[in-house]
Amino acid sequence: MCYATANPITNTEGNSILELPILKDYLGTINEYPLPFDIDLALYSWGIITNHVGKVKLINGISPEVLTNGNFKEIDKNTFEVLNDVFLHGVYLNKGFTLKIERISPKILRETKTYLNSKIDRPYAIVYFHLDRLFTDQFTTNDLL
């Protein structure tokens, strides 16, 4: 499982779904693993909501493209402030909350696969999580092969 490299609740910087340097640390001795294995890679995205008293929760399937309705203002890279009380994927967000988007971009996916290809010295298959069009539409067929 080559994702979930950090805790999204406590990780305020970077991408908790996948940071390639952290993955490299985890896989330093992968070729010593005695059994056959396949590789599981993430395609999903989510929003990490921080509320008025600092509590955090996740909303699945959020991408920056759905935040263009005037209710959100980008205050940092991939981080938005909620400007008005609004429902987002059925979740009620209040003015002042912050929303950090984490996703797997085609670039990160390519870099990860290139690294895995050079690192792992045995045959393996790739399993993607998860195959919702919401996520797969962001990738070309070649990205996923």
Partner: protein, 427 residues
């Protein structure tokens, strides 16, 4: 349930970490603000507690059973008599009365000849309802009810066709709308509990909705219909039904809200789009603010913008203050693992105290909302908002401002006086 204190000085006890032990979040802070001063028992379950889904109190004063109140009014007897007749009297006693044999039960003495003559049909209904009552749970599937609970008896033990036939005949023979409605409710419930979900919906249309009569028992039937809609995966309609039950029942709001929560997560966006009356909108915003991740003051603002005197606004203010109490009045003050000496940096260890900037900002937002209410010329119960404003200054150790607001509390209700005294003494 909570730790109430009414003495002067409270000091923090710094602890570096927790040890493994029994933990009760509602006993981990000094509770000086009585949430129950919202003074509306109907909404007490939605006050703040971190120990259970709903706030519980022994002070459910004046919250009578709404079903009994309807019987009381219909039969023109007092509440205790109606309660005894419906909930406690035996079916045999009522059958004895109906058969002219009388009853030895002295608590049914109010049922004299004139009463019996006038209410024979009602007594027949009550008698049959008492026959059905022990079986009114959902039939078991694989040894349990369809939500998994073990029951002693269930609706499937009765002859379905026979009971339905009796209820239909009774509905057809009855001319009184109140009794027709109750037979209709029994039809919908009995079909629902027998897992005949489409029949339950059909009976609702044919025997309940058609009456165009909507006392609270109508909404009890709507609640049953909602259960059938949910079973048929009509989640949006089920949510609408449970929400209608929520806003019309005063005794079973918890049950209605729980039904909404388990019905596809309760689609509040849809409910809000369909809300028509201020009461509907206020209750939706209350439930959104009740979700403890949401900022209760966001919902509060929406409510007071249209209904400054709404009890739902008081509930959300009480919840916000209780949240602040938990932050400002901890029994023990503990430092994060990476900042073990944080207590040494405090200027004073006398409660109330906090070093969390988000909590301070939330306090300011709460106080601003409370004081803004007092500026509203349409506000009726100023004393509630004087008490909340006083308390929010007291939390900041601004005792002069707190005293000024307390001095404006004029109402002599027991709860208000107790809260006034509690805030004054603690300051």
């Amino acid at each position: 349930m909570k730790k109430n204190v009414a003495f002067l000085l409270l000091f923090i006890i710094p602890l570096k970490n927790w040890s493994c032990s029994w933990y009760s979040p509602d006993l981990e802070y000094y509770n000086l603000f009585m949430q129950e001063i919202i003074n509306d028992p109907e909404y007490y379950p939605f006050l703040r507690t971190d120990e259970s889904s709903f706030y519980q109190t022994k002070n459910e004063e004046n919250l009578h059973n709404e079903n009994i109140e309807e019987w009381q009014q219909y039969l023109n007897i007092n509440y205790e008599q109606a309660h005894y007749l419906v909930f406690e009297a035996s079916r045999e006693s009522i059958k004895g009365i109906l058969n002219g044999e009388g009853t030895a039960d002295p608590k049914l003495a109010f049922a004299d000849a004139q009463f019996i003559k006038k209410h024979t049909q009602a007594l027949r209904y009550i008698s049959y309802a008492k026959y059905l009552a022990p079986y009114m749970t959902v039939v078991r599937q694989g040894g349990t009810t369809y939500w998994g609970e073990e029951t002693q008896r269930h609706a499937g033990e009765l002859d379905y066709d026979h009971v339905i036939s009796v209820l239909k005949k009774s509905w057809n023979a009855e001319t009184d709308k109140e009794l027709k409605l109750r037979y209709g409710y029994q039809l919908v419930r009995f079909a629902h509990y027998n897992l005949k979900f489409q029949e339950a919906l059909d009976y609702f249309d044919e025997y309940v909705e058609i009456l165009d009569y909507k006392p609270v028992m109508y909404y009890y039937a709507v609640d049953q219909k909602g259960g059938a809609e949910r079973a048929l995966q009509n989640y949006i309609q089920a949510n609408q039904d449970f929400f209608q039950f929520f806003i019309h029942t005063k005794n079973r709001k918890q049950s209605a809200y729980s039904s909404m929560r388990v019905t596809d997560g309760a689609n509040f966006e849809e409910l809000l789009q369909n809300a028509k009356t201020p009461k509907e909108k206020n209750d939706i915003y209350l439930l959104l603010g009740y979700n403890d991740f949401n900022n209760p003051l966001s919902s509060f603002d929406k409510i007071v913008a249209q209904s400054p005197n709404a009890v739902q606004a008081k509930v959300l203010m009480a919840r916000a203050i209780n949240q602040l109490e938990r932050d400002y009045f901890p029994l023990t003050y503990y430092c994060p693992y990476d900042h073990e000496d944080c207590a040494k940096e405090l200027d004073s260890r006398r409660l109330p105290i906090t070093s969390d900037q988000e909590t301070v900002a939330f306090l300011e937002q709460t106080l601003e909302a409370s004081e803004r209410q007092l500026q509203n010329s349409d506000l009726k119960d100023k004393d509630f908002w004087n008490l909340t404003s006083a308390y929010l200054y007291f939390i900041q150790k601004k005792y002069k401002e707190a005293s000024t607001y307390l001095a404006d509390v004029k109402r002599k209700s027991d709860k208000y006086l107790q809260q006034k005294k509690q805030t004054a003494n603690a300051g």
